[in-house]
Assembly symmetry: C2
Homo-oligomer: 678 residues x 2
């Protein structure tokens, strides 16, 4: 490109409407991706990410087509545009980077490009040695029409080009092939009868934590120093250094509200209850208050704000639960009886999933005549906690409340707090989980806990990351929760915990553990075949020995450090599985777009036996040559391995470390690097 | 089901709007299939076909959901409904049959079904032996609300059921499980807060010939009895018995209009032309007239109408070409110079695809200021031929005219003549071909001519019949055309012609040949590497020897009879390919929905050598048991083979017949059928 002038601002972009000239619009735009439910829902990105948009764009006949991708912040009227490029089979691609939280819009425009069509024909005729006299005149007319829309120096350049074309210089091919002219024409030639895609698609941009976060869940009441005592928020604060050392950046508290007394459950969810039984934190509401009150034994609102501030100094954000359900003692029951369903005998309908009955819980009736008042109250609850500094919410069982409610609530909260993040705890059918993600949840619990074999992991995480699902569903991977102690953990002992931790933390840019049960490898179920913990913390206060020698806390700290230091692990989009000739070993990689950071993870899924196998890596995709050795740096053990070629050997002993997290080091020193080589 | 009452007419179906009660609408409907371009285009069916509609339908929570599929003719306001059934993973399915040509609309509705939810819970509680007193009362209230909407006998039945529930009879499970009650409740319970899918999808129903037709293309001017003479439409009429004997039902005539003299091409598309050269029929327009005139040497409009009527008596429909292009001598050039593009020297721009130039053709300029007048004139042309009794049109190069034009034209013609059929002759890029099909063409030429290997055939016809493409694109398979003499035919000799005929006629419910070049195995190209015929009929009059002993006419007749007698071959939707352990043998099947007609085709693609192999049939899918022998009746040779099990042997000699068209005969006589067996 020679002498390319600085381009001034482009003429105003207006998305034209077709109007009475519709017969002259020849370009078609279809099959735009991403586009969720025909544009009904937003695509998700975080600040700093790029979005690649593809579409089929074509016209009738042989003319050349040009196309642009247009985007804007939702609250701005002016579009920014970027050129799209064709790649194969009439498919075009464009991309832009998002820089702010909030909603963006994007759409596409394509038109028959008179100048490019002319240029294409001129080149072919030149090659065939045909007469170009009339072509020169036709070209001059097109350039002149662009000159009329340009100004200053650029106008002069265009006029000069047109004159050269008209003059019939033998060097006519010059301007026809000139990059400078092409750039000016792209800028100034009228986009006659440009087709604009008939939808403005929506893109929601959240902060980075929506995409990558490490969660730690605790019951604040179990943080007391003395066994048996009811822990307080101040006690909880004293645990922050421990949690920070392990490297977590979200601390999720089981509900902190007053707990109901009616039908309170005893230890192990027993129906027989003693006066000192503390009840489940999810049985929300007592005479001390409801969803905006704090359990008196935990402390005060001041204590809570103090905890939030203290956590911040450790780089930790507090996440709260939004569990929209009430005990019979909740103030709503007295103040808003219309928000609950009545039984034929006039009593309030308690929760049931026949034959199971939950007399201690009254579900809110979203079919109530007063649904609108109910919605506004629940919004008030969330905004109340936002005012206390909370921006991360974990919604309890969102699939038991209407979809429209969540869509409205999340949008309303984000209007005021665009940095808010919502995690959906919906362990239910796949379509329901996906719908919740589409309507606005930033992150979603997923089936990770029950995906244990190589085939299961490969199938599920390929679906989550390599299909349209990746545009709206951000999985958060939990090896355990207070409700879920999987059989793999029950039977696999410590190696199972290590394996599941490493899988969660590397397969998932978002992951979390329910601690200290996790790092202390708590694995006793209430009874055989149950996934409930024996003596579950849901129904009693625990006193954990955080300093036990066999705690996984140091391994966890190392894994979280690896996550922080390797941006490849902070996104799921690049996840690819690689073949290993052993069904007990799973291998996958993640990498940054520029391949500067490539992480390869190898995990032995068998918690009992050493397993070995040959791993097959797609060298080209990770920027390697078959003849070039490369270093695999195991970030867990700091060991360095020298690998070469597609197939390399691994061996993993579950009794030491059942996994390796390799960082690929591409550059190896060779004899050429030695000082005296030359 | 006992005592089920005759159901009266259902309460008026109205598609409700959400309005101010939107918070109470809990059901989601998404991922509806078929839905082309988000509902922008119609799905296609023919009269008598069924359409199966699928969608994800679900609500929050545990309540039971019900859903219906709604459909209507476009010009009627009242919807008909049919219940949808869930099958897997929140996916529901419903179906209806279309009975008239024209446009239909369909949409879906789903709601939380209070009665089904109640019923489900009662069953679970009964099984667990729980108290049902309150359930009975709740159920009675629901039944009473339905009774208020019923009348006559049905109202009485519902009131009696409600009373039984209230009475607390020990037999309460009775009504809860009663089919009669379920049917009445389905009919009369108010669909409270029913979600209607937000689109009305469109379905275009055409007559059966749109889906299944056998085309024969000729040049009427080559039908004269004496060599060298210019054939007439009357001559053409004399060929009807011959064409009817071969079993074709569409006779497509190369354009019958006056041919231009300016820049007329000589034999073999030569630029040097002699006074008696007849020119290409696609060079339309002379001083004798344009697109609504008939070439004087062919005859008169009366002759044409006579031909149309005569063909009808043979069960043959005449198809005309719509080739919207003009010679310099076309009346439009004089009368509407604004419909053509000007060059800078004021002359009219002739067609070119640089470096190729076509001085004999002026393309119509659809970007003209007067595009609307142009559109109306072209519509007038098509309607003119409709008035002469023509209902089938083959559009020449539709991809060189704007998409919006065709969409409008086809819709306009169908408004007046819903039985009209349009075939798109667009040999261009796949997305362009699919777009033309979507916007309304009934049938489309396809890449069949260039799909010769087993892998190519399998990949392409699976795409056409087993993906969304099958909803809008009906392929018409041509082994040859006046423009296409493939290398496979050039080199493969007679066996190649037989193979390609059988593939076209069995892979495609719509197929056609350009004859008599085809049945006489004409295979000399203009020059090596060219797909043009030597001495192409496009530029000269031919005199064919229809009675040559080596003609394929009898084989063609047999194949067309097989197509007529086996409805499995009259649709492409059921096409499935089956494994054969020989890459030169392709095997596929087609079957009717009820499996009463199952056709299995085996073709040797190698025109030189006998090939043999083991065919693998999916017995279960075609209604067979592994231990049960079955008969394979070869409809080409009338041979009967006895097969058993999944794998069976075939051997095909290209020098006799390179293919077998089996009809599966499931029932074999056995000893049990023998009179004295018992």
């Amino acid at each position: 490109m020679k002498n390319r002038p600085k381009l001034g601002p482009a003429p105003e972009n207006k998305l034209s409407s077709v109007g009475s000239d519709r017969g002259r619009y020849r370009v078609v735009i279809e099959d735009v991706k991403p586009e969720i439910n025909g544009g009904r829902f937003s695509v998700k990105r975080v600040v700093g990410e790029r979005i690649i948009v593809e579409a089929d764009i074509f016209a009738d006949g042989h003319d050349a087509v040009s196309a642009v991708l247009l985007y804007r912040k939702e609250n701005q009227s002016r579009w920014t545009e970027t050129a799209m490029q064709p790649f194969i089979n009439d498919r075009w691609r464009g991309a832009f980077e998002v820089t702010e939280t909030g909603n963006y819009r994007y759409t596409l425009q394509g038109w028959v490009d008179r100048f490019k069509s002319w240029h294409k024909n001129v080149l072919k005729k030149m090659a065939a040695g045909q007469d170009l006299a009339l072509e020169r005149l036709a070209g001059a007319a097109i350039v002149e029409s662009a000159a009329r829309r340009a100004g200053g120096e650029e106008k002069k350049i265009l006029i000069r080009f047109a004159a050269e074309l008209r003059s019939g210089e033998p060097e006519v091919g010059g301007p026809a092939l000139d990059d400078e002219l092409a750039a000016l024409m792209e800028r100034y030639l009228e986009r006659r009868w440009a087709t604009t895609y008939d939808k403005e698609l929506s893109l929601t941009v959240e902060r980075a934590k929506a995409r990558s976060s490490s969660w730690y869940e605790i019951f604040p009441r179990s943080c007391a120093r003395e066994p048996g005592a009811h822990g307080t928020l101040r006690d909880c604060e004293r645990r922050l250094p421990y949690i920070a050392e392990m490297g977590f950046d979200v601390l999720y508290l089981a509900p902190i509200h007053p707990i109901g007394r009616s039908y309170r459950k005893g230890k192990n969810n027993s129906l027989s209850v003693s006066p000192d039984d503390v009840g489940s934190p999810w049985a929300i509401g007592g005479e001390e208050g409801g969803h905006t009150a704090i359990h008196p034994q935990l402390g005060t609102l001041d204590d809570f704000r103090h905890l939030v501030a203290a956590a911040k100094t450790f780089g930790i954000e507090i996440a709260l639960d939004i569990a929209f359900q009430c005990t019979p003692d909740h103030p709503y029951v007295r103040e808003h009886p219309q928000w609950f369903r009545k039984r034929p005998d006039g009593s309030i309908q308690y929760a049931e999933n026949p034959p199971k009955q939950y007399q201690d819980i009254y579900p809110l009736d979203f079919e109530s005549e007063q649904w609108e008042e109910l919605w506004h109250e629940l919004k008030r609850v969330v905004l109340f906690w936002c005012e206390q500094g909370i921006r991360i919410f974990r919604a309890d069982n969102p699939h038991t409340k209407p979809f429209v409610f969540w869509e409205w609530l999340i949008a309303e909260v984000k209007k005021k707090h665009p940095d808010s993040i919502f995690l959906a705890e919906a362990f239910t059918r796949p379509k329901v989980m996906y719908r919740l993600a589409k309507l606005g949840f930033s992150q979603s619990y997923c089936y990770f806990a029950w995906r244990n074999t190589k085939a299961e992991l490969t199938q599920y995480f390929t679906e989550l990351t390599q299909t349209e699902v990746s545009e709206f569903f951000r999985a958060n991977l939990w090896p355990n929760t207070p409700d879920i102690l999987t059989e793999y953990l029950q039977f696999g002992g410590r190696p199972a915990f290590v394996t599941r931790l490493i899988l969660a933390a590397t397969l998932g840019a978002n992951y979390g553990i329910y601690g200290p049960a996790f790092e202390l490898c708590e694995n006793a179920p209430r009874e055989p075949g149950s996934e409930e913990y024996l003596n579950s913390e849901k129904y009693e206060i625990k006193n954990w020995d955080f300093d036990r020698a066999d705690s996984l806390k140091e391994l966890i700290a190392r894994v979280n450090r690896i996550r922080r230091e390797n941006s490849a692990l902070q996104s799921d989009r690049s996840l690819r599985f690689h073949p290993v000739d052993n069904s007990q070993i799973v291998c996958f990689s993640k990498s940054t777009e520029d391949l500067q950071n490539v992480i390869v993870v190898v995990v032995n899924l068998d918690p009992y036996h050493t397993q070995a196998g040959w791993v097959e890596l797609p060298l080209e995709q990770i920027g390697l040559l078959a003849q070039q050795p490369f270093q695999m740096h195991d970030l867990l053990t700091d060991a360095h391995y020298l690998w070469q070629g597609t197939r390399n050997y691994v061996q993993l002993d579950p009794q030491s470390v059942p996994a390796q997290i390799f960082r690929l080091r591409r550059r190896l020193r060779r004899e050429q690097d030695f000082d005296y080589f030359m």
